[in-house]
Symmetry: C2
Subunit: 540 residues, 2 copies
Amino acid sequence: MAGKLDKVMTRRDFLNQVGKVGGAVAVYGAMDSLGLLGNSMFASASSFNAPKKSELALANKVGKKVIILGAGIAGMASAYELSKAGYDCHILEARERTGGRNWTVRGGTEETEINGVKQTAKFDNGQYMNAGPARIPQHHVTIDYCRELGVELEAFTNINEAGYYFHENVGPLSNTKIRKREIKADTRGYVAELLTKAANQSALDENMTAQDIERLTAFLTRDGSLNSNKKYTGTSYRGYTELPGAGLKPGTIGQPYTFSQILESGMMNNFSSEYSFDQQMMMFQPVGGMDSIPKALEAKLPGKITFSAEVQEIRQTAEGVRIVYNFKGQVKEMTGDYCICTIPLSVLKKIPADFSPEMINAMKNINYATTGKIGIQFKSRFWETEDRILGGMTTTNMDINQIWYPSYGYLSQKGVVIGYYNFGQASVDIGNLSIADRQKHALAQGAKIHKQYLSEFENSFSVAWHKIKYNEGGWVSYSASDRQNYYPILNQPQGRIYLAGEHLSYLTAWMAGAFESARVAVSQIHERTLKESGTAAKVS
Amino acid sequence: MAGKLDKVMTRRDFLNQVGKVGGAVAVYGAMDSLGLLGNSMFASASSFNAPKKSELALANKVGKKVIILGAGIAGMASAYELSKAGYDCHILEARERTGGRNWTVRGGTEETEINGVKQTAKFDNGQYMNAGPARIPQHHVTIDYCRELGVELEAFTNINEAGYYFHENVGPLSNTKIRKREIKADTRGYVAELLTKAANQSALDENMTAQDIERLTAFLTRDGSLNSNKKYTGTSYRGYTELPGAGLKPGTIGQPYTFSQILESGMMNNFSSEYSFDQQMMMFQPVGGMDSIPKALEAKLPGKITFSAEVQEIRQTAEGVRIVYNFKGQVKEMTGDYCICTIPLSVLKKIPADFSPEMINAMKNINYATTGKIGIQFKSRFWETEDRILGGMTTTNMDINQIWYPSYGYLSQKGVVIGYYNFGQASVDIGNLSIADRQKHALAQGAKIHKQYLSEFENSFSVAWHKIKYNEGGWVSYSASDRQNYYPILNQPQGRIYLAGEHLSYLTAWMAGAFESARVAVSQIHERTLKESGTAAKVS
């Protein structure tokens, strides 16, 4: 029956997976490497008996060195997990910060795009934008890492019925900001009315029993808020034109739009984006900025990260790997037993590497999504005080796509709004504007919805991910045929080199993809190490 | 057109309302009394010129004394607003705390029910339950007071797709916890499939143009996640039986339930509760407990509240009011120019008062809703670690009605779950059990959904509002005829006695009703004072 619990790759599942491929010893070793022994939260659910501590020490003495390329989520999660098991890990990171695409922009943040244009964020103290990942679904393993690392979470307001739809050039509802709740209630009402009518005309009989139809009609009447004639004529679900109050103020319900108006507007086609498994409420964000996650990982890896290390060559040697990198103008190299490479394919494909022709061909053929964001600081939260919108989004059919209202600092004076978060051609077009013109465009588009945009504006910071050095794109974008033809190749190690990152997962664009892929790479390396060192034989 | 902004009774609206009934002077006076002069947030939108400060002082010198009965939201909001305008306010409060039904239970909280049974909460430090109001919609004036009073807000997780439906005795889906997202996705799918079929059979033609039908069909295909044959056969919207992961794990989508199973279960009839204007996301709660609001109001009223003052008589005098009360065994009285009485009708109707026969009859005939809540502290957050539910609710057809997972302290060790929040007969039946039996019942019912209920249980605190002294009910419950026959009578002052509270509003059961009614009472008293003192003539 489909009602079983959704399964997430919890740490327990991870162990079970390792158990399947590597036998009991791999499980024990991986278990220790993940710090799960003695973890009461999971221990009770373990399906095997933990070995004595003395046996596990064997697994910890292999002492292999793993060079990890990139101090983003995948790289640091790999180092974090391997370090627990006694591996000698070192991360080479091109930037002077950790996090990769998990990047929180605050006042003073500087970025020079690949064409040399530099920005410095002027946000006030306490204000920030998450330029990369910005929300976490409940079922992602990212939540488990936040728990383990002590990263505090708060709700991310992914869905707010008070937000607006604003569509241009779509008939009578064009250029009008309309509360999401209005379009939703009206659409549900008309759908319910139409289906109820069809049911009463026996148009559904071949599918359903009389009892089912009766239950369906009762449900539709409630769900669509139909009147006693089974007609939709409006409902308080859509909100009021005058709110109910105290004394003799019962409130006034607004007139619904016609279904024809709504269908022409296309606004109802926005609903399903909220149904997506990874976009449903509740969603979460770390308190204070998404980079709380990489900062927490970084704190677990003292002395294990070399910053400003630009990888120039990735080589295989007889029994290991050799990485050539540029450290502030000096060419250096590092050798190790394994490499976990988390560099995005958009960048990796340009780095000389001892990869198979199939791998090189695969990387060449895989595309990265373009995406852009602008954070705009306003001197007052007019969306809260005037529009009564606390968090959430306004959805448009313009090139800015969405406006995000901040999910933190409610009721305070200032706030940073995400003025656009767009994809595809719109993100390329806006991203290719000058910094000043991006801002100007975001303000002009937003001012169609919020007149206060111009008077309350203070400053902005924009990110065009296709122009960000060391990323050159938002996230991997696999077609169905890419998944078939190229993805399996990326999942095969190149000698002792393993790839990790969101691009090595079915959770592309999510931090969870990076975490999960790190866990897979770590498991595979650990299993191989145990096998090759003969530790498996000793313990089993 | 219905797309206009929803209007809330902001402070500006409040001024406009006063302006209508009391003329310009009343507006100026009320404006000052509300502290709005010089408030830049609202000043720019004012449609009149503010008078000079020296003129306003006249309004502040009336010095009338207002006795307020009850230090709940309505009482303290009344005192807060009147005090700003220079009124001499004093609150008589029967309890030793403020807040009334806005009551946050923490470790050490004591309560003796009207039958003499005493409870002391044993929650750990940092754990709490909001026994009364627990969530705030964005459009309520409560939000404005939080802003003005500096009460910090965080999201209240009213809707979480990861929560369960659990229905007993409803056919094949009985006694099975099913994720809300599954029932929602399946229902949307089947509704879309049926309506698409009806549309293709021309069953809708008389209502819609061919273009509308084409747009409707395209919408339904997307909304219901129909396949290329316009059939619903499942969707990732409902979640996965095996989650997508890294490497070669694309995830497995579960089989949908049949529509007949769902219709028999009745679970789809729960959807519309989430559409209610006051229940839609986003919703909010004060950080640290709902009583942050009364505490913030109380801090604005130093020395103006007498606790342990049980009102015994409410009398009218020639030019004012006289209140007789019992203060720790001593009978005392207080006289004043006006009285604002916020005592719930369920209690007020038993207090001797100089009220008209119509008023006495009205109070006698108005009912109060019964409701109960239990907070259960568990030693671990199994709902987060095992069920992957961070906040939100599970909805049942059992007498416990709902289970609420806490909207604070995510990822921490312990948590307080609301084990039931019920109404009507169920709340009477469970509320009439002994404290121990309420707990036993809540645990037994909850354990049907969460097996960890019994092993992880630590302690509980239950509230049966019909047995709480000074309340004797949850909130006023007006029938349509009550609104017609009795409600207008309550809105007329009895001499110089004005009623306030959620029962004097169309926002019953909400704190906003208490706030709004306080503003109405304050406006009416202020207008009358200005008229009677002749101040109006002087200034105008």
